[in-house]
Amino acid sequence: MKYVLKRIGMAAATLLLVSIIVFIMFQIVPGDVVTAKLGTDITQERAEALRNEYGLNDPLLVQYFNWIRGICTGNLGISYSKDIPVGDLLLNNLVVTVSLAFMSLILIIVFAVPVGFWSGYVSGKNTKRAKLFDSIFDGVNQTFMAVPSFFIGILISVVFGIVLKWFAPGKYVSYSENIMDFILYLIPAAISVAVPKIAMLVRFVKASVVGEMNKDYVRTAKSKGMSDIAILIHHVFKNSIITSVTALSVIMAEIFAGSVVVEQVFNLPGLGRLLISSIGTRDYPVVMDIVMYIAIMIITVNLIVDIIYRLTDPRIGASYE
């Protein structure tokens, strides 16, 4: 328990540090919102009035605290370019991105864990046939790992959308209209995000299963008379999951941070698209909030993984106390 509190404290401190860095960075980036919004052909007074309205004439420290207070209370400020609250703007896009991330995550776990285990089990046998299997499997897996998500997205759009006409590429149904259609139209995008990550996780799980299969305790289990399958389930599974969780945490952070390009390919109004358009219009409140969302996601995922680690592995607890 003490550990959990300490770990949460650390995460909070990290977030604070990130927020400071983000804030400072957006003070440094060139470009003026007033010029971007109103053009160069305006009077000094109008520009000044707009600056006052956005609070840009306040001291930096005040601006920073206003921003942080806004994030904590849910008041995320006003979008420069659209003149509506950033919160409203984000919410719609956030739902799309988070749904996409969760669907990809489910796909990744459902496919990568069994495939990783099976391939690890087969290649862990250390026979000639296993070695052949190994090289073929790794080759195929590496191909999937190397293909970028957006390319798979385009491929899926062409093959299943245009040729087979299973879905209309580029179509998006809002979740408020029809939740089932919303999910269905996210599936192609989720698959595109998931495929390279599946390959990545398979590789990790496979490596850790092979590693665990060669450990002494597996030999002990054999000497007890346990069958190979039972050893895999009772002994190897938990041990290799623990080592694979680290890999999963990196992957999770990546997909939650937004699959910017894939959103573009499938024309989904997610955070990625919003981020790109907001950078174009120098809509800094929106950009800063999205960057903070990404940071929060990565830090939270790591926090959860660390705590799970701690709870499942008795060794970590012992060395810590």
Partner: protein, 478 residues
Amino acid sequence: MLEVRDLVVKIEDREILKNIGFSVYDGEIVGLVGESGSGKTMTSLAVAGLLSQNAKCFGDIVLDDIRLSDLSIKERRKYNGNKISFIFQEPMTSLNPLIKVGKQIEEVLKLHTNMDKEEKREKVLDIIKQVELKNPEKLYDMYPNELSGGMRQRVVIAMASVLKPSLIIADEPTTALDADTGKSILRLIAGLNKSYKSKVILISHDLNVVREICSRVIVMKDGEIVEEGSTKEIFSSPKKEYTRLLIEAVSDKEKKNKTEGGDNVLEVSDVSLYYKEKGKENIIADNINFNVKKGEILGILGRSGCGKSTLSRAIAGLSDMYHGSILRTVSENMGIQMVFQDPYSSLNPSKTIGFILSEPLKNKGGYTKQEIKEKVYKILKQVELSEEIYDRYPDELSGGQRQRVSIGIALISDPELIIADEPVSALDVTVQSQILELILKLQREKHISMIMISHDRVVLKKVCDRVIKWEEITNGMF
């Protein structure tokens, strides 16, 4: 009885075992000895049916009228745990770190009996008591990392003996443990053998271990049986040269021509060692007092974990986690050098031996390239390595050669004091005696002063002019 006839094991067409044949009778403890690579572990794995799948096994293995060698791997697995069980060398890794030890013992019962939950628990608690572990109820729910090496080995023994198997194979069961714990483990195995009348094969590289509890000894070398006989015969009149070497290595022989030693090169007075945890100082050992004289080899005898390695680091100036005074009458720069225990991990695998050996001189400075090269070749000669080693990488060297390189590293900067921390304990006995010979030769020729730290009394006695026990120089905290 167990009968093994014409056993041959091949891995990728290489014959690892050649025509092994022996038998073990009920109630007997047979020792299988030999150095690493002699095939003793391979033999036991073949008997237990635990060889890896790329190994091919020929010949007959018959246990209590069951022809094990005719069965498939799957069928043989059924006999593991209840007819044949195994005690492994590494108690630190042979248990699953994520499962409670009680559950791990219980697994054997789950696999081979139809006991209900209560019975199984009863039986597990009972066997935990029999392997002389205290507090069975509490132990049942503990994880392996909460136990010491000796306790874990007892858990492994509990697992191996809970179903009173006909054959127990113990592969170096005491090697990873300190001497006292090892002895008690041996007594336990002997005791179980007596009360269960099971057959035991005890595998070890250490003849003293075998001598302790075995009635018969089989000596192996390069995948073949060299000699076989009763323990008494083997020790009193070994027929083969190899057996004699093995016996020699473990026999208690004291060094002749001891060096008196001159002035003190090192005075350690009232030193207490500590380690820091969360900013708090925890004392490991207190009140350490001793000195080292010029030209002598001082042995410090202590068991693992007593703090002797921490002390050596403090003396070498690698650690400042101590209070008290360490007076070195040697020059500050490179005056003290260390030789470490593990020749496998203490050399950088990506550099050539020549480079590794020249590094201390480069750090010291003041030598030209040519001088460094000459010195390295000279050192190679002194530690009895051929010149071609210069361009080799650590991976290409044997354990003994690597330890010679480590000694060379320590010697090359002409230190006034060398600290050797368990310099031979990772090596085979015959290699061990060669390295000890080398150390003696270096003492004669170069008059080096040396502290040799070890848990092995026999080793220290052979080379040291003076041996002190850890308990004698500290305040008895270890």
